[in-house]
Symmetry: C3
Subunit: 413 residues, 3 copies
């Protein structure tokens, strides 16, 4: 009996973790699709490697700092989990490592199209091995924030807002992409190279999010695993409706990019309260998240903060909203601890990230050269093209002009 | 013990629903891949929004009309499930909403490349909130069709044929795409812009279909959840073989589009009988479904019914065959009730859909203008391109001519 | 109680098999992405049809030869499983058929861009129906290799090395692609048409691999299903790091193709020992697998063996390493039986495959004509283009020249 219960709980955690792992593919596609073709291979490499390097880091010491046997004053864990080798905690580690990788991968999108591959690789171990583990210890490992009454069911704040704060720290240091702002500082649209890749990424993230939210029950027996799935569904639906409506109002058309990012905002928004907020209020939570995300994207762009995929708004802004929503819409949290927690998580994450990015900037440098950025990071950083056989618009611009001239010539001739 | 049993059953239903949810990505990719690049963003928006709007509709009243506590004469349910808020029925709602979204999304493919986004959005609540819920009440909610002996295990008729019938109603009103037929009414091929997207979509649908069919046991304990998975596998395999053979015979080559649509036809065909039909006869069911689908595509095209992705044939024709197959090949159903049910479902769905589409046609209009259709719905409806960086054939046609002329000139010079 | 235990185990096996089935999409994308656009539809067809034909073959006799009730001297099974129709063994068949399909689909990548579709279809039943079933009988069906002490938990050797050996046999007969080697026999790079498709394929394979490895416990109750998932994660992470480092050293840049293939090498490498090798040594296993794969790709290319996607190295070389690693790094296997098994599996697979390919070569022919190869297999074999709307580099080469000439002319004019 106990053996069956344990097997059911293990299976639930493993299946949920596998779903969350697949979100890596979703992030890679959203980020690649929303940026230019000349950087697609680079984006993929960053997504592949932040999971790979992050996974090894989390095995070596990240997990130990979050969930090692002992706690140093509720601030950091330690003990016997360094170079993790305990099969009895296998499912626990597996479920946690895919969360750590999610937090890490949020950043690559915000820094896309101009950050050095090596610099990105250098930063990754800090978030997966130090920044994120400490926060999880504070909140989910019995640390000081949990003792304060801070509540975050599946990580609106712990995972997403944290990723957004780290992304903001990075963006402020690398600065906007070449050509993003005109001489008077007005933002120019820089559409991504494939909406289908972007949309597929969003669908994959939505799919994997059921592991994220419903899996955060951590067990199946005696748990309500369905309600978080229902709340997640409703918030995602409402998030896209909210974002579509906001973008439609602002721009006069139902914008594809905003709408599909609205799904993600809805998902991020409900994550803290997926098991607490009732179904009707989940709709409200998602709707507000979608609208806030659109507003945040527009404001950040005007402030000169160039975030190619909207990662800061989707994860940071909607993540903060998620922490507030669970206090407003359920009895599981109250506003003050949520705000203290938000400040602590953002402060810690932004602070350390800023420091690390500065250090990298001062040594290897954060940003590729202007020539490399113009050529694209695929060629300059990896020596290859993502789509070597296709012809791109910039390649025929100089071709079209003489051809049109010829047309004139032959007409007059 | 009971708690463990309940947890196992809940987990099965939630996992299955998550798989079915992912089919939305499959539909989006099949439909985008099988149509032209200039409409890819629009197709994605329709698929994203029919799930989003449909999910909210199903939460507000769809579920209540299907599975509310009371029944009005076996025709429609009602009761306390409006604005669904009952956590104890969470997994049930979750499993049902992804089915409702499947029925809804079938239509977008058939209407692709010419229907207005707004009009499509207006129609969606009718299928998710009214048309589909009533049919599920009749068949799976203890309504009149189930009392008559009509049998449809996972929805060959209830989901797929219904979607196909609604799609037909829509196509008859919007008419064929510009250029689909020449002056003498002969159909012209209009190949989709990405076979890889189409094929990935089919693989995702196949993957998700295990949730659809094996999940329709609705529980795991004391149920045979493996047999539907085996039957589903075999029918899908046979469906692609059947369709490939039929297309090879007809056209002299193993056509990619027909073959991968054959997988879907096989899946649709076995859905009604996945738990009833033996493995050998599952092969037959899939094989026949694949051949019927090809025949149906060819016939509909000749009749002037322009269905860009073959949705009416894949879901409608193969769905009807599925209802018949389960009567022919198993003892769980008999032919007369199946035929009555098919007539009732098609009649009701086609009738209401026709009415709604006519209403939309008379008010906001169903179809975009000729200019918008030629420009592509991505630009005209959403103000963006799905692939803004790539060069398309139609863009270089006028470029090639003078260049070739020049080549002649320089040769003679 | 027993019923619940059985349900839990069944669910685990069905869910795992569904994940493994999805690997077919991963293979299709990796192979399509790593090869040229003019062959993408053909690659997809081969992947779709080796599963379809393979599934039917495995239903008709493959499963019987592997796991039929009786054994002929530990060499081949037989009995009542021909035309498989036993619902009580449903989950077992389902789990096995997706493994058989994995072994089969490895080959299509190695033979890509030049093998005839019909010839490939003719070969498929041999691997799914004969070659693979016998090996599984030897190892997992209680046959002679298992009696010898050969150990392969989830199929580094039984599935992957076997697929690699069959691929090698095929490649040696079809020879390299046109243009792969210059007049002095030096290999030329032939980059694939879409790194994003390739990377998505790798992510899907990684995702599905959890079904492959963790599912190979075959049951959940009383089993440790989490440890294989942890080992799999760590080996995949280390595989990409190892391959990236090796490629970086060799070529001076972190190559995208090698790195993402490194994930697959790591996964293949840990497959034999996923349940035996400790977590730390899983990292070592993956790291070595990644490095070996890169070395193997470089060596094979120099030897004139043209394997467009690196299938022989990823599955063959890393698979062999997996068999050795489990002997070196765990007590579950010892070196001699592992080497005997490796020789037996490779010998049998290569031998029969060579024979069958020779037979096909002598009758219908293995390779398309030079004209067909240049035109691309999509057009010549299937009469369609995968991306009919996009403009490709080779199409504008002749266009650019006169345009540049014109530019000169207009400048001087």
């Amino acid at each position: 009996m106990e053996q069956v219960t344990q097997a059911v709980n293990e299976m639930w955690l493993v299946v949920a973790a596998v779903l969350v792992m697949f979100m890596q593919a979703g992030f890679a596609l959203v980020e690649a699709g929303f940026t230019r073709a000349k950087n697609a291979g680079n984006i993929i490499m960053k997504n592949m490697m932040d999971f790979s390097v992050g996974g090894l880091t989390y095995w070596a010491f990240g997990f130990a700092l979050a969930y090692g046997g002992s706690s140093f004053g509720g601030l950091v864990a330690y003990g016997d989990a360094f170079f993790f080798d305990d099969p009895s905690r296998g499912s626990e580690w597996f479920f946690q490592v895919v969360f750590a990788a999610t937090a890490a991968t949020i950043i690559s999108g915000a820094l896309a199209e101009r950050v050095k591959f090596t610099s990105y690789l250098l930063y990754t171990p800090f978030i997966t091995g130090l920044i994120y583990p400490l926060v999880t210890h504070w909140v989910w490992g019995g640390g000081w924030l949990s003792q304060l009454g801070f509540f975050d069911f599946a990580g609106s704040g712990v995972v997403h807002m944290l990723g957004g704060a780290a992304a903001l720290a990075g963006v402020l240091i690398v600065g906007p992409r070449l050509g993003k702002y005109d001489e008077e500082g007005r933002p120019r649209p820089m559409p991504g190279h494939s909406l289908t890749h972007g949309a597929l990424g969003v669908f994959i993230l939505w799919f994997g999010w059921y592991g994220f939210n419903a899996g955060s029950t951590l067990a199946a027996v005696g748990q309500d695993i369905a309600s978080p799935a229902v709340a997640t569904t409703l918030a995602a639906c409402a998030g896209s409706v909210g974002a579509m409506a906001a973008a439609w109002t602002l721009r006069g058309k139902p914008d594809v990019g905003f709408t599909i990012n609205g799904v993600l905002a809805g998902l991020v928004g409900i994550t803290a309260g997926a098991a607490s907020i009732g179904f009707g209020l989940s709709v409200v939570t998602g709707l507000v998240a979608g609208v806030l995300m659109v507003a945040s994207v527009v404001i950040l762009e005007r402030l000169g903060i160039d975030d190619p995929v909207g990662a800061i708004s989707v994860h940071g802004t909607a993540g903060l909203w998620g922490l507030i929503a669970v206090a407003l819409f359920s009895g599981d949290a109250s506003l003050l601890p949520q705000l203290i927690g938000a400040v602590a998580i953002v402060g810690w994450t932004f602070g350390i990230s800023h420091l690390v990015f500065r250090l990298i900037e001062a040594t290897v440098g954060m940003r590729v050269s202007m020539e490399e950025e113009l050529a694209g990071l695929d060629r300059s950083e990896h020596g290859s093209d993502a789509y070597p056989e296709f012809v791109f618009q910039h390649e025929v611009v100089d071709l079209r002009e003489p051809a049109v001239a010829l047309q004139e010539t032959t007409k007059t001739a």
